[in-house]
């Protein structure tokens, strides 16, 4: 196996934290996103979408998606369970993780990529170029603010975002919260439950990944 990573980027950080929680270390190649290595012919041959993370299996199969990579690693190394220990828990964790991606991660990405000068003409990752839409940056900020309040309410009655166990849904929320900080979006002062959770998950050794 070979893991294509970029230590400064949020999406591969989801996989790095997942690996750290599992106690796994993979052979890793750094892709220099800041200097455009993802757009080189060599990297396009690995992932035409020009994104990391990518996991290359020993037979050459390429898995170019953070959640698909985590699902693969969970099946290979079930302990500790990070996507649910039962059929039912897996369904709940999957649904919650997808809600977090949609309402939080994509919103933070809209806020960042439609605003940041360096992403002019590249408002979306992937193989095609799209111009920034300033209204979409503003909507993204508003959505992240709503997301923080909704998560605060959710954490009033749960230790972790998908229940009583640390899961991939906590990883997604931690990574997007730190990423939202790039455009100066922070957990509101009065969101005590979300702040309690953020302190706890940030203190785990895996959060350094």
């Amino acid at each position: 196996m070979k893991f294509y990573d970029c230590t400064t980027a949020p999406s591969p950080r989801r996989v790095r934290i997942f690996l750290a929680e599992k106690g796994l270390i993979l052979p890793t190649a750094q892709v220099d996103l800041r200097n455009g290595e993802q757009f080189t012919p060599a990297f396009r041959a690995i992932n035409p979408d020009c994104t990391v993370p990518v996991l290359e299996l020993d037979d050459g199969t390429l898995i170019a998606d953070a959640v698909a990579i985590c699902g693969y690693l969970e099946e290979l190394h079930p302990e500790p369970p990070l996507i649910g220990a039962s059929l039912q828990e897996r369904a709940v964790v999957t649904a919650v993780n997808r809600m977090i991606e949609r309402d939080g991660f994509h919103a933070a990405m809209d806020a960042f990529r439609n605003f940041t000068r360096g992403f002019k003409g590249r408002a979306l990752p992937g193989r095609h170029d799209y111009e920034q839409i300033p209204e979409l940056a503003a909507r993204g900020r508003s959505r992240v603010e709503h997301f923080f309040r909704d998560m605060d309410a959710r954490l009033a009655s749960r230790e972790f975002v998908a229940g009583e166990r640390f899961t991939i849904a906590d990883i997604s929320t931690l990574v997007l919260t730190d990423f939202a900080g790039w455009v100066k979006l922070a957990i509101p002062e009065d969101c005590a439950h979300l702040r309690r959770w953020y302190g706890a998950v940030s203190a785990r050794p895996s959060a350094k990944a």
Copy 2:
């Protein structure tokens, strides 16, 4: 189990086709989205996001996401495999399905919800209201056009979108292609591979679901 459905909506159609391919029939409740039943207190208690599909398990657990529901049903009823028959195939199908959601499904949703008069003030599903952004409708149309051409290239060397087997990734692509027709986006005439695929999957009995 109880399946909350709406026969006119694309997201629950993904689950309906999945059920039909498995040969499963579930007790089903129709939610009348056109007349706002999703915004009633009774339905908000089932799904605060005000969306279908939702699967209610016998112990009361609620799974409010099409892909999480399909994953649950696949584990309960593995045959025929629709999310991959091996660890590796599951990872590939998951990654391809997520690419199709991001580049196709979300793009078609942007094109539809930011343009259609009935969705004024409701440009996103979920618990919060957002205004339409006309530039986002236009970007959505452009993305769907790119998506059709990218899928045509993909299908030049594969019978189905994730390989040689019909999977959830074909279901997602079929549903979004029909949904894109609501805003008059159609597979271009010269996309022969995608047209061949569309003819074949549309002719399956499950496509009527």
